[in-house]
């Protein structure tokens, strides 16, 4: 039956879906309604309510007077500017490494996914313990080999922020490498073969074959990673808790800090202030993804 039907329709002009089923629109509305409800109740209303909480100008004055806020903005910019670019550059390099046809590299690729497949809490806490100045394994080893005490890793704000960035990279590097690998595998093999015949060096192959095909994907990944990293609460909170002396907060943890101090208006104001940073990134992603 269905084969007959298909040949019949290929001759006739396509039937628009709404004319095909008089009831289609009805069922469409019914089926899309649950999500619309979720969106209205748990996204739209909370967001509007949030803006209403942060409506008073005095709140923003108080926020800008808080030295922790300025520090958090600076930390967030470092986190995004240094952290993300470093991560994506390493991911790009590794995507070229993991496509090499070697048995051991395929096995390594399986292990390499582990940080992304495991939940953040136990692994980040494990790293936190490694860094403990008195008992942690890193300083124990430093002491054993040099006889000196190692640095007090998480008690130095610069070092602590750098380590939080490294934790973030550790956790999310596999995901982005995986995506760049799929982009890398989509490049036709004969491009590399003919480049090799022409005697191209591996840098030239990267510069003139790999990069032109992956530039757009790389940029999209960078922007998307920035958006997600702005919402990355775990890397900083579970490693440093924002300390020492609230000097390693980023905007994601600062909002929650104000919330826990029962200063909801400051919390929302900090998020509203971050919007000029978020919206251009979101606009870029919407342009890329919605048709």
């Amino acid at each position: 039956m269905s084969t007959v039907a298909i040949t019949a329709t290929t001759q006739a002009p396509a039937v628009p879906a709404d004319r095909a089923w008089p009831a289609a629109q009805f069922w469409g509305v019914v089926l899309v309604a649950p999500y619309v409800l979720v969106f209205l109740v748990f996204v739209l209303y909370p967001v509007c309510y949030g803006f209403w909480i942060a409506r008073r100008p005095e709140t923003f004055v108080a926020l800008f007077d808080d030295p922790i806020f300025a520090r958090s903005v600076a930390n967030t910019l470092v986190f995004l500017g240094v952290g993300i670019n470093l991560k994506m550059a390493i991911a790009l390099m590794l995507s070229n490494f993991f496509v090499q046809a070697r048995r051991w590299i395929q096995w390594l690729a399986v292990l390499f996914i582990l940080p992304w497949a495991l939940p953040s809490i136990p692994t980040i806490l494990s790293i936190r313990f490694m860094l403990n100045p008195e008992w942690g394994i890193i300083n124990s080893l430093i002491f054993r080999f040099t006889g000196d005490d190692g640095p007090n890793w998480l008690n130095d704000p610069t070092l602590a922020l750098a380590l939080a960035i490294l934790v973030h990279i550790w956790k999310s590097l596999p995901f982005w490498t995986l995506i760049l690998i799929s982009g890398r595998l989509a490049i036709a093999k004969d491009l590399y073969e003919s480049a090799a015949v022409d005697g191209a060096t591996s840098w030239q192959m990267f510069r003139f074959v790999t990069w032109p095909s992956m530039r757009t994907l790389y940029l999209t990944c960078t922007i998307l990673s920035m958006i997600w990293t702005l919402g990355d609460f775990n890397s900083v909170y579970l490693l440093t808790g924002g300390g020492p002396a609230d000097l390693t907060h980023v905007l994601a943890t600062l909002g929650i800090r104000y919330l826990r101090l029962d200063e909801v208006d400051l919390s929302m104001a900090a998020i509203v202030v971050a919007l000029p940073l978020v919206l251009p990134l979101v606009y870029f992603m919407m342009r890329r993804l919605s048709k």
Binding site: I6, Q25, V32, F42, W228, G231, A252, G255, V282, M286
Partner: protein
């Protein structure tokens, strides 16, 4: 092997060995702690002198005040993760079908709103979400966390399912129509079976998202008997003299199910998710 090939292999190893160490050390450290007896856990050895499974026994028997509700919290994590997976799957499958196949009016707008939600950094939405859950009287109820996780998981779920659904040929719908099928029969008999791989990917995605979630769980739930295992683990941080070996043993138990699921469904996850995550 000629010298040039050896040089290439050496270069690959020079990348491979640091990558291996970087990946494995924090995980190995967690395992090491979990199988070390309490007194030797801090010795800084690369392998404990007397490896033991005793820490796991302590955890399973709930014999520490941090672990009084271990099984309860494990159960909470499971219920919340499964509920999030099922509800997200229901909502997203229906929405994607309505938008992609039935071409419901305003479908494009709904898709864009969902995408926009996907791009709100999770920690930013947490604050207003926490307040509105309070207004709705859901705070400290597990429904608050389930609904919050459904809210976070569905946009991406709908998007992945819509992309997959758009790839099914139009002729299927036309054939079904000429055969006299109703819209719901098309949904049940044509759309659902063909979408199965994407449905598995999306369901797993939502389930893992909820199991792994920490921030929303610790904001929305507070009673020790109601929180998830993630929050229970975070509570170990409350004191400096926490039993690290027990924390790492609990953490390992908590981390194994998602890792096992991830590796079991990797085929679906990589196909369904990385394709959807960033369209090139």
């Amino acid at each position: 092997m000629n010298p040039r090939a050896i040089a290439t292999e050496a270069k690959l190893l020079l990348i491979g060995i640091p990558v291996l160490l970087w990946t494995i050390v924090p995980v190995y450290h967690m395992v090491l702690f979990a199988i070390s007896p309490k007194d030797s856990a801090f010795a800084g050895n690369l392998w404990p002198d007397h490896p033991t499974l005793n820490n796991f026994l302590v955890v399973f028997q709930q014999k520490h005040h941090y672990l009084t509700y271990f099984w309860r919290q494990m159960g909470n994590s499971l219920v919340i993760a499964v509920a999030t997976g099922v509800i997200t799957l229901l909502i997203a499958t229906c929405a994607a079908f309505a938008i992609s196949r039935l071409k419901v009016g305003g479908g494009r707008l709904v898709m864009n709103l969902a995408l926009l939600t996907y791009f709100i950094p999770a920690a930013f939405l947490a604050v207003p979400m926490y307040r509105t859950m309070g207004l709705y009287g859901l705070l400290n109820s597990q429904w608050a966390l389930i609904l919050a996780m459904v809210t976070l998981a569905s946009p991406y779920a709908i998007w992945v399912l819509k992309q997959a659904s758009d790839k099914l040929p139009e002729e299927l719908d036309e054939a079904a129509y000429i055969d006299g099928a109703s819209a719901l029969q098309l949904f049940r008999l044509v759309y659902l079976p063909l979408m199965m791989p994407s449905l598995v990917a999306v369901g797993t995605y939502a389930l893992l998202l909820a199991w792994n979630e920490y921030l929303y769980a610790f904001l929305l739930l507070s009673k020790d008997t109601e929180v998830t295992l993630a929050v229970g683990l975070g509570n170990f941080l409350a004191a400096d003299d926490s039993p690290w070996e027990l924390l790492m043993a609990t953490g390992l138990i908590y981390a194994l199910p998602p890792a096992a699921i991830y590796y079991a469904f990797k085929r679906y996850m990589v196909g369904g998710l990385t394709e959807g995550a960033v369209k090139s």
